[in-house]
């Protein structure tokens, strides 16, 4: 309990919490590690701040960065990634073979039609089945229902057009499966073809092309990227 910040003290006085329940900054990275480990799912920054009840947002962000860099530097078996609007602990891709062997699970199948269709939905959402079919030149009903079942896409509404066709969009699971912090991590379409960019979202520069709506970038600083 050596280092106690101003905000820390305020909270303590205000809420009358037990001192032991307060997070001091020194052990913040370890504390966050516990929270992320326990949660399993990506935890939004706001939820971390709320659970820690004391440290400020920027202090939590800084601690996340310390944690992410520590994993990298020490070559640990865990990585901190920013994905689907939150932070999550994941295994590094280099360990996939062993983890898979242990879990004995079949990896999810991502066929080319599925990937192409979900890519179109991701960029053009909300979009209709007809739009997808026009781009791919093949019918899309079966692959869309697979994607719906896998929760990679969802119905977001109906288009105010003849026949009121269903409109599709991507889900948070889509971001999680592909390790994307948010939709703005997708490159602009103009940049496509210049390989590799997708696996390094931090390289993406805004070229003013087609880009999905970008939420506030403030939460994306310590990008412990899965790539």
């Amino acid at each position: 309990m050596e280092t106690v910040t101003e905000t820390d003290r305020e909270h303590r006085n205000g809420n009358g919490y037990d001192a032991a329940a307060q997070a001091d900054l020194g052990r913040l990275p370890a504390l966050i590690e516990s929270l992320l480990f326990a949660a399993g799912a990506p935890v939004p920054l706001a939820r971390l701040v709320e659970a820690l009840d004391g440290p400020e947002r920027r202090e939590v962000t800084a601690a996340l960065k310390v944690l992410a860099e520590g994993y990298e530097r020490e070559g640990r078996g865990i990585r901190l990634v920013q994905v689907g609007g939150g932070y999550q602990l994941r295994t590094p891709a280099e360990h996939a073979l062993w983890v898979r062997r242990l879990l004995h699970e079949r990896p999810p199948r991502l066929s080319r039609p599925m990937l192409e269709t979900v890519a179109i939905v991701a960029y053009r959402q909300p979009c209709t089945r007809a739009e997808i079919e026009a781009i791919r030149g093949v019918e899309a009903e079966a692959v869309l229902s697979t994607l719906l079942e896998r929760r990679l896409v969802r119905v977001v509404g109906r288009k105010e057009a003849p026949g009121r066709p269903l409109l599709y969009g991507t889900t948070r699971e889509f971001l999680e499966v592909f390790g994307l912090p948010d939709l703005s991590a997708l490159p602009t379409l103009r940049e496509l073809g210049e390989a590799e960019i997708l696996s390094h979202p931090e390289l993406v520069v805004d070229a003013g092309g087609v880009r999905p709506p970008a939420p506030a970038a403030a939460d994306r600083e310590p990008a412990g990227e899965a790539g």
């Binding site: 949660a39 399993g40 994941r90 192409e116 119905v155 997708l186 073809g193």
Partner: protein, 274 residues
């Protein structure tokens, strides 16, 4: 170097994919397709295919026709009295190919990412508690999908009390009535838990009618089903300003008067199995 190709259809994800393959194999630009060569190769590929299922074949054949058409247009001499600049007959196809190629590249890149449960792994998610009151919630509240709603429905049905042995045939409720009943509850509260919607339902039939009514209201965008946490509780919220507006919207769409009443009566007599 590629070995002489015996191409089989399943490799290709459609006519555009096949065309891009041929263009690449011939080392030519998409923007300047040697249409005669490509058309010949395209048709030759189709003939090599042992069996085409009818659905898939249609798409390939339409493209074949398009290619032959473009080829013939390119052979025709340009009309001399035509003032307008000659349009490249390939133009539309080129645009289509370029666009498809872009998405095909994204798809490739997505497939190469560290995919969850294939390349990288995380612990199974625990449900997080609801955010504290006053705390700004997530920037975007996740809408519950149909699959989420069905999961929740399954839970409601599971918890349903077993039917009493001597069940007095209660009054049947139509979807239209269920819609009105649901809307009435939103007069008091703007949002409510998914499960509390079914608090008054006693039989499977009632639960299902209520559920169908709920789906209809979501479809009409009168209600929203939100699920802030994955696998968490689903909350229903009014998507319009007032219940009066909601009722108006429902009536405008003519559903209450037309289909539902009769429908409810028809379905009313079954489903007593609990």
């Amino acid at each position: 170097m590629e070995v002489a190709c015996t191409v089989r259809l399943p490799i290709f994800e459609g006519p555009l994919d096949l065309l891009l393959h041929l263009i690449k194999r011939n080392e030519v630009q998409v923007s300047d397709i040697p249409i005669a060569t490509i058309t010949d190769q395209y048709l030759a590929t189709l003939e090599e295919l042992p069996e085409l299922n009818l659905d898939g074949a249609g798409e390939y054949l339409v493209m074949a026709a398009t290619l032959v058409y473009i080829k013939s247009r390119m052979l025709l001499p340009t009309a001399e009295d035509d003032e307008e600049p000659e349009e490249d007959p390939r133009g539309e196809l080129v645009q289509q190919l370029l666009e498809y190629q872009r998405y095909r590249d994204v798809a490739l890149a997505l497939g190469e990412r560290a995919v969850l449960d294939r390349d990288v792994f995380a612990r199974d998610p625990e449900a997080l508690g609801p955010p504290a009151a006053g705390e700004t919630a997530e920037p975007c509240v996740r809408d519950a999908s149909l699959a989420d709603l069905l999961d929740a429905l399954r839970e409601v049905l599971r918890r349903l009390r077993p039917p009493p042995v001597h069940e007095v045939a209660g009054e049947e409720i139509s979807i239209g009535q269920a819609v009105e009943r649901i809307l009435a509850r939103f007069v008091m509260a703007e949002r409510m838990e998914f499960t509390s919607l079914f608090a008054v339902d006693r039989t499977r039939a009632e639960v299902i009618v209520t559920f169908l009514a709920l789906l209809e209201l979501i479809r009409l965008r009168v209600l929203r089903a939100e699920q802030p946490e994955r696998f968490g509780a689903i909350t229903l919220a009014l998507a319009v300003a007032t219940v009066a507006e909601a009722t108006e919207r429902v009536h405008d769409l003519g559903r209450l008067e037309a289909g539902w009443r009769g429908e409810g009566e028809h379905h009313g007599d079954g489903d007593r199995d609990g």
